[in-house]
């Protein structure tokens, strides 16, 4: 199974922010963590992760600092800010709404009626 690109992109921000609430971390560790959390299904590329981290930094949701690891090697650590926590809370509310709604539809009480979408579509068409 491969998760669609749009879905990966939409969920990327809350995931990164969520992981950073556990403490400061760096790119490779975040990538590994996401990989493990999803059982290997979410395979992010570096081209997704690092520009995302830089964007979050520009927006002020995370802040970064360089620390030297062994020898010449430097590592950029990211830490979530208060703004980032607020953003995460907001995104979480939105995701909860979506997830609850989906759960309601898929596991909801009574018989599942997939055709309920049709009247909705029809109404949209009349506008």
């Amino acid at each position: 199974m491969k998760v669609a690109k749009d879905l990966v992109a939409a969920s990327a921000t809350p995931m990164v922010l969520g992981i950073l609430t556990e403490g400061k971390s760096y790119g490779y560790a975040i990538l590994r963590r996401i990989n493990r959390l999803s059982g290997g299904e979410l395979d992010w590329t570096e081209g997704l992760l690092y520009p995302l981290l830089h964007r979050l930094e520009r927006l002020g949701y995370v802040e970064s600092s360089w620390q030297s690891v062994t020898g010449e090697r430097r590592r950029k650590y990211y830490r979530i800010t208060d703004n980032g926590l607020a953003e995460l809370a907001e995104q979480r509310r939105q995701w909860d709404t979506v997830v609850d709604a989906l759960k309601e539809i898929w596991l909801g009480p009574g018989d599942v009626r997939p055709l309920t979408a049709i009247p909705l579509e029809g109404r949209a068409g009349q506008r």
């Binding site: 790119g27 590329t45 570096e46 081209g47 520009p51």
Partner: protein, 447 residues
């Protein structure tokens, strides 16, 4: 293993979208990945291959980075942007300091004569010939500092002294023609001294001389741009202060304009040096734009002369105008040479230059005939002699250039011949400017 990492870093850093800090971050990532693969049993080189492969194509990666950091594709100047390597950063900071010192020195030099009772508004006879002596030594100093050139320093210093002597030693009347002529020619002579500081040790090298030609073009463009900005600043200074009843005219004419112009000569040079590799040079672009237009104007002018069979009315102004026309044509030729790949075969643009140069030559021959007639009839003045000399020098250059261009278009000589001719000719301009400055006043008995 380290060599592989270094090579990989090299590839990464060649991307304009990826900066030094990104390379650090990605390298840490790569090493993390390698470490993990090694810990599950791969050999180091295998692990490296796998890790690099996992990171995916650099093209895709930099495209993603470019989306977030689009500003990086608009190259920034060294003023605020972070530099890509530590060594370059230290150097550019040193340059910045040297530039500030030299620009401040140039600005201050303009005001020094006031300590000895000179007034900018009244003593034009002093400021005119000396104007270039305020700013250009500082510019040369900045360039020599950047090149860390010691050997040519004494020669450069001696030439500036010579310039100072030429400007001040002759007993010229305040209103004499020679004051004006020296005011025009000394900057030219001293500009070539600046060129000496620019090319530093390899002043014989044709490539370095061509670099100086490029530098001159870019410097000119930057100077004009800064001057435009200065004009806006002046307008606002004047307007706002007048609005509250303070007249800033004295400040503007005595301080802002002269000091600003002197400092700008250094700042423009610093900008050219700082951005050398950063943006496409603008002078060659302007050349491409205007070569066809000037060609059209020159040919139209020739046709008009033939059509109306009118002689050219050669007054002094007209002669200078035609001198300037030759300078422009030469400039168009020079800056198309400077941006050209010497190995490329002759193209349409090279052919387009032929009518331009030929047109200029034809017009100039007409002018020359007219002026020699005048001189034999009425005798000569320093003005006429200087203008005539320049005309002859430019004509000789253009005539031989036309020949070389023709041979190049017909694939008889390589393009480099034209380039070498132009760079080899540079000392001629310098020599003539020095002759005018040094020998003309005594020759014409200080008129």
């Amino acid at each position: 293993m380290e060599a592989q990492f270094a090579q990989w870093r090299h590839y990464v850093q060649r991307r304009p979208e990826l900066q030094r800090s990104d390379a650090d971050e990605l390298e840490d990532h790569l090493r993390g990945c390698v470490d993990e693969l090694v810990s599950v049993g791969l050999r180091a080189d295998e692990a490296f291959l796998v890790a690099v492969k996992r990171m995916g194509r650099l093209d895709d990666l930099s495209r993603e980075f470019a989306r977030e950091h689009s500003e990086r594709l608009w190259k920034q100047l060294a003023l605020t942007g972070e530099s890509n390597s530590l060594g370059a950063e230290i150097r550019s900071r040193g340059d910045l300091l040297a530039m500030v010192v030299c620009a401040a020195g140039a600005a201050a030099s303009v005001k020094v004569p006031e300590l000895f009772g000179m007034r900018l508004a009244e003593d034009g006879w002093f400021y005119g010939p000396n104007a270039s002596l305020f700013a250009l030594p500082w510019l040369a100093a900045f360039l020599a500092w950047r090149r860390q050139a010691r050997r040519p320093l004494i020669g450069i210093l001696a030439l500036f002294m010579l310039g100072a002597v030429a400007a001040n030693a002759y007993p010229l009347a305040n209103t004499s023609q020679s004051v004006v002529i020296t005011s025009i020619h000394l900057p030219i002579a001293l500009w070539f001294v600046v060129g000496l500081a620019y090319v530093a040790e390899d002043w014989r090298s044709s490539r370095r001389r061509m670099d100086f030609i490029r530098f001159t073009g870019e410097w000119f463009v930057y100077f004009i741009l800064i001057a435009l900005g200065g004009g806006v600043l002046t307008a606002f200074t004047a307007g706002t202060f007048q609005a509250i009843g303070i007249d800033p005219e004295k400040f503007i004419t005595q301080w802002l304009l002269p000091c600003g112009a002197a400092a700008t000569t250094v700042v423009a040079a610093w900008l050219v040096e700082a951005k050398q590799s950063v943006v496409e040079n603008i002078a060659p672009v302007l050349t491409r734009l205007f070569t066809p237009l000037f060609t059209a104007v020159l040919l139209a002018f020739l046709v008009a002369i033939v059509w109306t069979s009118a002689g050219i009315n050669v007054e002094r102004e007209a002669l200078i105008l035609f001198d300037l026309l030759l300078v422009v044509v030469l400039g168009l030729l020079l800056y198309s040479i400077s941006a050209r790949d010497p190995l490329a075969p002759p193209g349409l643009f090279d052919k387009l230059q032929l009518p331009l140069v030929l047109g200029a030559l034809a017009i100039d021959v007409l002018v020359l005939l007219e002026i020699t007639g005048r001189i034999t009839e009425y005798g000569t003045t320093p003005n006429k002699a200087a203008a005539l000399g320049e005309n002859v020098i430019l004509l000789a250059n253009l005539a031989w250039s036309t020949w070389l261009l023709l041979r190049f278009v017909r694939r008889r000589t390589p393009f480099a011949a034209l380039e070498r001719w132009q760079t080899g000719y540079l000392p001629m301009y310098a020599a003539w400017a020095w002759i005018v400055v040094l020998a003309f006043p005594p020759l014409f008995s200080y008129v």
